[in-house]
Amino acid sequence: MSKKIITPVASLAHILPEDYRALVEKGPHGKSVGIKDLGSFKEITEEHPHCAGCGVSLGVRLALAALPAPEDTLVVGTPGCSFFALSQTAVNYSNTAFGNQNSVASGLKRMLSIRYPDKDKDVVVMAGDGGIADIGLDMTLHSWFRGEKISTIMLDNEVYGNTGGQESGMSPEGQVLHMAPKGKNFKKIPVFEMARTAGCVYGAKVTIASPKRLGMAVNRAILLARELGPTYVQIYTPCPTNMKFSPADTLRIAKEAGKAHYAFEEFMTEEAALRIAAMEGGLEKEPE
């Protein structure tokens, strides 16, 4: 997207909302900004109706701040909590039927490649664990099998949040939740491992308590998807409302998970490692 597209004509600029003008003047479009620059630019997310202390909203905010080219990014999502922040975002966002996000993204990416053969249009799936690992798992996996050049970002709050706290395939074993009154009786679905097997060229598992790492993973995933194939980032975004902890404890919970079942992990193909080395000037010591 050219900056011209969003720049208002001078005679109309004064009637546009302040947040729009700020986005044009101080937004991330066409600039090389990321997580480390938060606070110095106008973010593409806006106010949202998520619960206090929501891990998903922070996950969305951080992931969007890490987009390498927001001006050419299209986000495809699915119903659920992630919708609330994503629909208030200054990128094109599509959300249709529950679970179909990787199919929609496949069609969209291919059509944009036809229409804009000389541009990188980053099609990013950003959706919850229910959409990616349960109802849409077949479409998630098949988009990876086919080698679609899209990035899939799971906002994993380990629960169906928007419908009121039901068990998800990503909930921890033993967790008592709605629809699992005696506790979940099977393990968390190993989507991260499945991504590697199914053909993702890069994968990362990270929590919202490590923003720089999260930014690095999202950035790598999107840049690698442009050339090499599907990529996957699984972000732990804990839910105070349904997991019954204080909204003030979200980051503490995420940090603890990062030391236990959500320890930072990456995988990449040899080709992806070479691309990262070329992009980043060698594999640096990973950020904290």
């Binding site: 299209l74 094109n92 599509s94 249709t96 199919s103 291919r110 944009l112 229409r115 249009k121 077949d138």
Partner: protein
């Protein structure tokens, strides 16, 4: 995509009304012949009987360079979702399915309509389980009546060919911009070889221009960039309820606006043979062909009978039917399904609807010999139409 041989001249008139050459092909081949001339950017397939052959042939068109992208997806819901994604991206798309595939993909059809996408999908109608059936019947059409899609029903292979091209022309009008389902009764049309007339191969539709869409293209090149291409999902509040309702009303209004384009490109929503007759057979799809034979039999016996071929099911030709049936005493509606959706539609559209006999109905692969239709007419005349409304 037009091949190198195909030139973008003023081909719309040429395609619809120009010189045509004879071809002896099946309905499935007719679908591919239509897609070959439709300048399609992308097609997505998933096999199901009796649709499969047509989408194989569409795949071959991709291999030959007529289509820019094509792949086999993992199931029909995924196909219809991917087609939705491709249409969001601003190109012309095609797909097809049958019976159980239609039901599996059901959630996506209202999405297409709500997203105002001019997707053309061919439906080669067949039975749905249970008991399992791959045989021809069109019950799925009754299930799609309120999805917001436009629905055209082909009588034969020639219709199937013509209606696919006409569907793109109607769907892509800026004041319509809705998906169109082009329906044909499976096997009867798809697997039957008949003589058709096709325009030259070097003649194809002009490319789709997403700039004429009434909704923003989803490509970050079209303002506003902050768009959410779906109905508002915020918790029930007055504004989101109203926004959703007004959007739905606009989808319905767009379907109404399609009428004039259907008239322009298809010569109307229905065709009437022997207007002013006292007895009418009203049908759509393959039942029309069977009704033609029944009509001949009845006229040979000196009966004052006529035939109404309904080409457009959505929008439905209610006022046209009222006019055509003004002087009729009896309307027999033969159907290839158990539910009798067409008879219901006709009953809801006309006055004195006791005149409508919803029979014969055959399904699960049963045939509909013309005498069966004649028998229903005679039965109704003999019973003084006491079965009307049953």
């Amino acid at each position: 995509m037009c091949s190198e041989k195909q030139k973008n001249r003023d081909t719309i008139t040429e395609l619809l009304h120009g010189l045509r050459n004879k071809a002896f092909i099946t309905g499935s081949e007719a679908v591919a012949e239509a897609v070959k001339r439709a300048n399609v950017d992308m097609a997505i397939a998933y096999p199901i009987t009796p649709q499969s052959e047509s989408m194989h042939l569409v795949g071959e068109l991709f291999a030959k360079g007529y289509i820019r992208d094509y792949y086999r997806a993992e199931n029909e819901f995924a196909v219809m979702a991917a087609v939705h994604g491709a249409a969001l991206g601003g190109g012309r798309v095609f797909t097809a399915t049958s019976g159980p595939g239609t039901l599996r993909a059901m959630e996506m059809f209202p999405v297409w309509a709500g997203a105002r996408q001019p997707i053309v999908c061919a439906f080669m109608c067949r039975g749905v389980s249970l008991p399992p059936s791959i045989q021809p019947e069109n019950i799925e059409m009754g299930m799609l009546l309120d999805t917001g899609m436009l629905m055209l029903h082909a009588e034969n292979g020639q219709d199937f060919f013509d209606m696919i091209l006409q569907a793109y022309l109607i769907a892509e009008q800026p004041d319509v911009h809705l998906p169109v389902g082009v329906f044909a009764d499976g096997f009867f049309v798809t697997h039957t070889r008949e003589e058709m007339r096709l325009p030259p191969e070097d003649c194809c539709l002009p490319p789709y221009d997403p700039g004429f869409a009434p909704v923003p293209v989803f490509d970050m090149e079209t303002p506003p960039m902050r768009i959410t291409r779906d109905p508002l999902l915020n918790k029930s509040n007055f504004i989101s309820g109203n926004a959703n309702a007004s959007w739905h009303q606009e989808v319905l209004a767009a379907a109404e606006r399609a009428r004039k384009h259907i008239a322009q490109y298809m010569g109307g929503l229905l065709e009437v043979e022997n207007p002013g007759a006292k007895i009418f057979i009203a049908a759509s799809g393959t039942a029309v062909s069977q009704s033609r034979e029944a009509l001949r039999m009845m006229q040979a016996e000196g009966m004052d009978a006529g035939l109404i071929k309904i080409k457009s099911i959505r929008p439905f030709p209610g006022s046209e039917l009222c006019k055509a049936l003004e002087a009729a005493d009896l309307v027999v509606v033969p159907e290839f399904n158990a539910g009798g959706w067409l008879a219901r539609e006709i009953r809801a559209a006309i006055d004195r609807n006791h005149r409508v006999i919803g029979a014969p109905r055959v399904f699960g692969g049963m045939t509909m010999p013309p005498w069966l239709i004649v028998e229903e007419v005679k039965k109704a005349l003999g019973a003084g139409q006491s079965r009307g409304g049953c």
